[in-house]
């Protein structure tokens, strides 16, 4: 893959908190229009990886390049949707208010949103099909609508690389399906998505690339190639239940999964 088509390029990345490593020697490259599932058990460094790419956490060593630049040079092109449970859903803002926040980084200090910003917000809202709920207070949204609003904010930012932290958690099948369709639409428009999830069945079925993480990068490639009992065992250790079936391996989670 030619270097200039790389959206994201990470080399020998080490990062962690308070002296404890959460990521050890991670290296990989992602090309334009990829839909990457970042899978691993809890505490495997999925969120840390996203935060390090966003520049919220300084790596101990290693190099991260987004669109060929370092984090500060490409801030506006990287969008982030945090885990839904860390968001304050009782905060007094409407859906449109939140999506408009996606414009703030481009606006810079002291400038107020103008016509171009309102147009970008309207576009993002219709992309995720929330136009009709734009005036609602965010506490009135359902789980699926919440996730789509957080993605719309990243779209309003006109980000080309989207980092989504556990967008599928707690959604029913219909809402998951709707979200996956959105991912597909975004990818077809040239966006690149990195989606952290601990739901392996979802990764296997819907993403073209899977990054198996357990502090170290266990495997990176098409799900069909890397979903082998050996690699899954290495990533998930005792968290998984694997049953050989006729067609391959059934993967389930121990406990609540």
């Amino acid at each position: 893959m030619a270097t200039n088509s790389n959206v994201l390029s990470i080399q020998d990345l080490w990062a962690g908190y308070d002296g404890d490593a959460a990521l050890e020697s991670i290296s990989f490259e992602v090309g334009t229009g990829s839909l990457v599932g970042v899978a691993g058990p809890n505490g495997s460094g999925k969120s840390t990886l996203l935060k390090t790419i966003l520049g919220l956490l300084r790596p101990w060593r290693g190099r991260i390049q987004v669109f060929g630049k370092d984090v500060n040079g490409s801030r506006n092109r990287v969008g982030y949707a945090p885990q839904s449970e860390v968001v304050d859903w009782d905060f007094p803002v409407t859906v449109r208010d939140v999506v408009t926040m996606g414009r703030y980084g481009r606006l810079g200090l002291l400038r107020r949103p103008g016509a171009a910003d309102r147009a970008a917000v309207a576009g993002a809202l219709s992309e995720v099909r929330l136009d009709e709920l734009a005036g609602r207070q965010i506490s009135e949204l359902s789980g699926g609508q919440q996730r789509r609003m957080l993605i719309a904010r990243a779209l309003a930012q006109e980000a080309d690389l989207l980092l989504l932290d556990e967008p599928m958690v707690g959604l029913d099948a219909t809402n998951q399906h709707e979200l996956l369709e959105l991912f597909e639409r975004l990818r077809s428009r040239g966006k690149t998505l990195l989606v952290a999830t601990h739901d392996l069945s979802c990764v296997a079925a819907c993403f073209d690339l899977t990054l198996l993480l357990n502090k170290k990068l266990v495997a990176f490639g098409p799900p069909g190639e890397i979903f082998t009992p050996e690699l899954l065992n290495e990533a998930f250790a005792e968290d998984l239940l694997m049953l050989p079936t006729e067609g391959g391996v059934f993967v389930g989670h121990h406990g609540h999964g």
Partner: protein
């Protein structure tokens, strides 16, 4: 009949205007309106971010500066501001650099500052009434000079909130994503703490250390029961605060009670009314709706 209503109008007019013949009442009215506006603007952020404890703490911490100012003979306002701002930044830095919880740090620092104030006061042979006018508030003692200082500080606070509103909003709602989009969230957080510190000092003389927190929290909390966007909470909060200030001041004049407490009680009355009767979020409308639904389903 026309005479009667004219008489009534004249009576009400006199009731409103008469107290203002005293210059101290004019100053007091301006002071409480100013305090209401500044406190509600900053207080909206205090309420939506759950920072009530720090507002209370900074008011108490300013006591150290007031005591030092009285003991060593410099401006009480300068003493109060330095003490409140230093405590605010101390809380911010310590809670960030250590593993202590934010509220633990607040609890340690503000009582420490307050104790320092008591130590300074206890060394004084005869501490003046000045000192205690700040503890319990004495809006009738506000001078034109005080008023000028309060207006200048208040104008700075309101202007900064207006200028950096979108950064304050984003940081308050979702600091992580705000930081990721390049907003200097740490600077915004420190700045907000300094604004809270300054607005507590603006309110000190009018309502007193113990009641400052009510000016910060009660009107925006009432507004948050009525409207659901942050800037609406600010506007409605300001309206409620100004109404409480004016009504409370007149009530204190005619009933001859402490003005700070009278203003706070008026604001509290607005809060209770909103809690009970706010459309959608009030206790009574929600209860009525529940009863109606139950009846529809034949229960």
């Amino acid at each position: 009949m026309a005479d009667g209503s004219a008489l009534l109008t004249a009576g009400i007019w006199g009731w409103i205007v008469d107290p203002l013949e005293f210059e101290f009442m004019q100053r007091a009215l301006l002071a409480v309106v100013l305090v209401g506006i500044v406190s509600a603007v900053v207080g909206a952020f205090v309420v939506v971010r759950g920072m009530a404890f720090i507002g209370d703490a900074l008011a108490h911490a300013s006591f150290a500066g007031i005591a030092a100012a009285v003991a060593f003979g410099f401006s009480i306002y300068i003493g109060a501001i330095v003490a409140a701002v230093v405590t605010a930044l101390g809380i911010a830095v310590i809670s960030q650099r250590s593993k202590l919880r934010f509220d633990t740090t607040i609890g340690v620092l503000f009582v420490g500052a307050f104790a320092l104030g008591i130590v300074i006061v206890s060394r004084q042979e005869n501490y003046t009434a000045d000192l205690f006018s700040f503890v319990f508030g004495s809006v009738l003692g506000v001078s034109w000079g005080d008023l000028q200082l309060m207006s200048a500080l208040g104008a700075i606070v309101v202007a900064l909130v207006a200028l950096f509103y979108k950064e304050l909003l984003f940081t308050s709602y979702d600091a992580t994503v705000a930081a990721a989009t390049g907003i200097p969230t740490q600077l915004i957080d420190y700045g907000l703490l300094v604004l809270i510190a300054i607005s507590t000092v603006v309110a000190l003389q009018a309502v007193g250390i113990v009641l400052v927190i009510a000016m910060l929290v009660t009107p925006p909390a009432t507004a948050s029961l009525l409207v659901n966007r942050l800037h609406y909470i600010i506007f409605v909060g300001v309206a409620i605060a100004v109404a409480s200030a004016v009504i409370g001041l007149y009530a204190s004049y005619y009933a001859d009670v402490a003005s700070g407490a009278s203003i706070v009680l008026t604001a509290t009355a607005f809060f209770v009314a909103a809690l009970l009767f706010a459309p959608r979020r009030g206790i009574v409308p929600r209860w009525l709706l529940d009863r109606e639904r139950a009846r529809e389903f034949g229960r």
